[in-house]
């Protein structure tokens, strides 16, 4: 025990000079931090695309990672309300507490949609600040990226120039990619879609899709069979072109409705790692668009 303590004490100051430790709540922010930080950062993604970011266990491994983080990057807007507060509290790491430079909430740097007019839990698991799934619009990633690059430069001034250079390079590629995606997505304009949860609101707004139905009766409340039956009857006359769900969501409701309506059920990657192809941010949107275009008229 004593030897262990001695080892830890000797090792701690060494670790302090290492690369910036970034704790990313979701894979999209891990990918963005990696684009900006390159080899100058050590990025830990707390969740995978297969996990529902609303419902994560505050596992011991996450506390251990947060304990050593220099920067915590999360969506905010209460997306992580069920687990992030425990990690912040239990990790005893003052550098990443809210209000400190080491705490970065992406939702602070993009305009949020679906702000509830009234706050009442009878409306389901509503987020007071608005819809937190903002990364589904690539323009928001540009906005958040600029702020994140500035924050990372502030935290690691010695490598600020490198962070900024990488950010500028990424930003140029990203702007070009957005223009490309927008051009390709022209046929998607006004295409009616049904979604399982409000996780694609930003994507839908960006591409001009038409959201005709949400499978969840209220945000975060799973649809019952009766509810799905009613939806199917409602949509029969004018069915959507596709039913969308994120990789982490249960396939059953979307598949059931899609089959009933005779339209494709699309499993969009939602975030980096959501399927085999979506290995980085560019591939995430490439794959999302390809899938949607297949369903387009």
């Amino acid at each position: 025990m004593k030897r262990l303590l001695v080892c830890l004490t000797l090792w701690a100051p060494l670790a302090a000079h290492a690369a910036l430790n970034v704790f990313a709540c979701e894979p999209e922010w891990a990918a963005l931090a990696t684009e900006i930080g390159g080899a100058d950062v050590r990025v830990y993604a707390a969740t995978t695309a297969q996990q529902d970011p609303h419902r994560i266990e505050a596992r011991p491994s996450l506390i251990a990672q947060m304990r050593r983080a220099d920067l915590v990057v999360c969506s905010g807007a209460d997306l992580e309300a069920g687990w992030l507060p425990v990690l912040l509290r239990e990790s005893n790491n003052p550098a990443v507490q809210p209000g400190r430079p080491g705490y970065f909430e992406a939702s602070r740097f993009a305009p949020l949609r679906d702000k509830p007019a009234s706050l009442d839990r009878s409306q389901g698991d509503v987020h007071a600040a608005g819809n937190p799934h903002l990364h589904a619009d690539p323009r928001n990633l540009a906005r958040v990226g600029a702020a994140l690059a500035a924050r990372m430069s502030e935290l690691d001034p010695a490598r600020a120039a490198a962070h900024q250079a990488r950010w500028q390079a990424f930003s140029a590629r990203w702007t070009a990619a957005i223009a490309g995606w927008e051009a390709r997505a022209a046929p998607l304009r006004n295409m009616p879609v049904a979604v399982q949860h409000t996780s694609f609101s930003y994507l839908i707004a960006w591409l001009g899709l038409r959201e005709v139905a949400i499978l969840e009766p209220r945000p975060g409340i799973d649809p019952s069979v009766a509810h799905l039956g009613r939806l199917a009857a409602q949509l029969q006359a004018d069915p959507p072109r596709a039913v969308l769900r994120a990789a982490y969501q249960s396939p059953r409701p979307a598949d059931w409705l899609a089959q009933r309506l005779g339209v494709p059920a699309l499993t969009l990657p939602y975030t980096v790692g959501g399927n085999a192809r979506a290995g980085d941010l560019f591939a995430l949107f490439d794959d999302t668009l390809d899938q949607l275009l297949k369903a387009a008229p």
């Binding site: 995978t48 609303h54 011991p60 425990v86 975060g220």
Partner: protein, 447 residues
């Protein structure tokens, strides 16, 4: 330029004894400094002009920092737990765990039959300032408010260290820090009932350190008043109870995670009251004075496919304790028929027990669980009172099965069946129907 002259003049005035040559040297030095600064300013100006001439590569988007409604930022997070139940229990006059000196009863000790509102709790928490956070948990009872927890904790110490002060649940074990609304079963485990009544709380201080390692490791030490069972309130300046605890934990792949811990508790008791049935089957009052030392080991393992707990998940938890009590026990009866005669003599006991539970969420909203409790009365020596008090070798056991349904994260309905053999004379079928609802802010729960 003017300043240089002024400075020189001032220096001349201040140090009239300075030789002219010294002043010349000083002037030359100042001039040198001035030219150096002017050169640097010119360079900076050039850079600013350069930067201004360049077109902005990317218009920086205005941060929306204040557009989000930060409702009630300065108000504490408030949540109110509404909990009630219907219990179908046998009519047992005096519920005890046989072979164990009774622990003080926590609120909602699980004995009331029929409908009851138990465990109404008000939880307030917030950051106090940049240096502290605070939390209060009040248990609302009839004509009474019990302060379950009321503490402040440092947030700025760094190096993984935090200090908590006030009344708090000890960091020992797994279930201990959980309040009834976070339990997986309608009632507490027999082990915790025998050890602490409900959970071990302190009025005191806690020091906790989280190690900067990939493997989760935390170590803590507490010193407290020790007023709660197995200690008692004592009229003294020092601390009445000490605990040491450590936890390690981590992941195995993306689907599994675990945590294990070991803790030690030492508490002093001064005339701790208890009730036992003596050899004449009369209620005897006991007063214990001495020390109580306990070891608690805990292990938790959780599984969810791909780490996505929303659809299905499984958790297993087990805790084991050993407790040794040394001191003196006084036994007296208030009825002439009683056996005890007010003798105080040595008391030594060494007892143990455990529980193990498994909870499986087999589909969204629905969970089922099984818990097994078993205690070992071990060896008990009442000294001279052996002549008046029974020594049992009955091992209290209980099986519990539960099914719960959570319409949302804020509400839960539960049905539980237990077969309770806490006492040798008891073989009871217990039924509980329970609701646990929470109002207000989103309570994030620990692992």
């Amino acid at each position: 330029m003017f300043r240089t002259t002024l400075l020189a003049a001032a220096l001349t005035a201040a140090f009239p004894a300075f030789a002219q040559s010294d002043l010349d040297a000083l002037r030359a030095e100042l001039k040198e400094m001035k030219t150096a600064y002017e050169a640097r300013i010119a360079a900076l100006e050039a850079r600013v002009q350069q930067a201004e001439a360049k077109p902005a590569a990317q218009p920086a988007p205005a941060p929306q920092a204040d557009s989000a409604p930060v409702a009630g930022r300065f108000n504490p997070d408030i949540s109110l737990i509404l909990q009630g139940r219907y219990a179908h229990l046998d009519d047992i006059d005096e519920r005890r765990i046989e072979g164990f000196l009774p622990a003080g009863h926590g609120h909602g000790d699980g004995a009331s039959r029929g409908f009851s509102v138990d465990g109404t709790e008000l939880i307030l928490s917030a950051s106090i300032d940049p240096y502290f956070r605070g939390q209060a948990i009040l248990a609302l009872l009839d004509e009474e408010v019990a302060i379950e927890e009321a503490w402040v904790q440092t947030t700025r110490l760094g190096h993984g260290v935090s200090v908590k002060a006030g009344r708090f649940r000890s960091g020992l074990g797994y279930q201990n820090e959980k309040h009834p609304h976070a339990w997986d079963f309608a009632d507490s485990s027999l082990m915790y009932r025998a050890l602490f009544g409900e959970g071990y709380g302190h009025d005191g201080v806690q020091l906790k350190w989280v190690a900067p390692t990939d493997l989760f490791m935390e170590f803590g030490a507490e010193a407290g008043r020790g007023a709660g069972f197995p200690g008692t309130d004592r009229n003294t300046n020092g601390a009445g109870a000490y605990t040491l605890f450590g936890h390690v934990g981590g992941d195995v792949g993306t689907s599994h995670s675990w945590r294990a811990g070991l803790a030690w508790l030492s508490a002093k008791a001064d005339e701790r009251e208890g009730e036992l049935e003596d050899l004449n089957d009369e209620h005897a009052e006991t007063l214990f004075s001495g020390t109580s030392k306990a070891w608690v080991a805990d292990f938790v393992w959780k599984w969810a496919p791909d780490g996505n707990a929303r659809e299905r998940n499984f958790s297993f938890a087990a805790e084991y304790f050993r407790r040794a009590e040394r001191g003196s026990l006084l036994c007296k009866d208030n009825t002439p028929a009683g056996a005890c005669n007010g003798t105080a003599d040595t008391y030594r006991s060494s007892q143990s027990g455990y529980y193990a539970q498994a909870v499986y969420q087999f589909m969204p909203r629905w969970r089922s669980g099984y818990r097994y409790d078993r205690l070992n009365p071990g060896s008990v020596d009442f000294g001279a009172n052996n002549a008046f008090l029974p020594i049992t070798n009955h091992q209290p056991t209980r099986h519990s099965l539960m099914l719960d349904y959570s319409p949302s994260e804020f509400s839960r309905l539960r049905l539980q069946y237990s077969k309770d053999q806490s006492m040798a004379s008891q073989n009871e079928n217990q039924w509980f129907v329970q609701y646990i609802h929470s109002l207000g802010s989103h309570g994030a729960h620990k692992f």
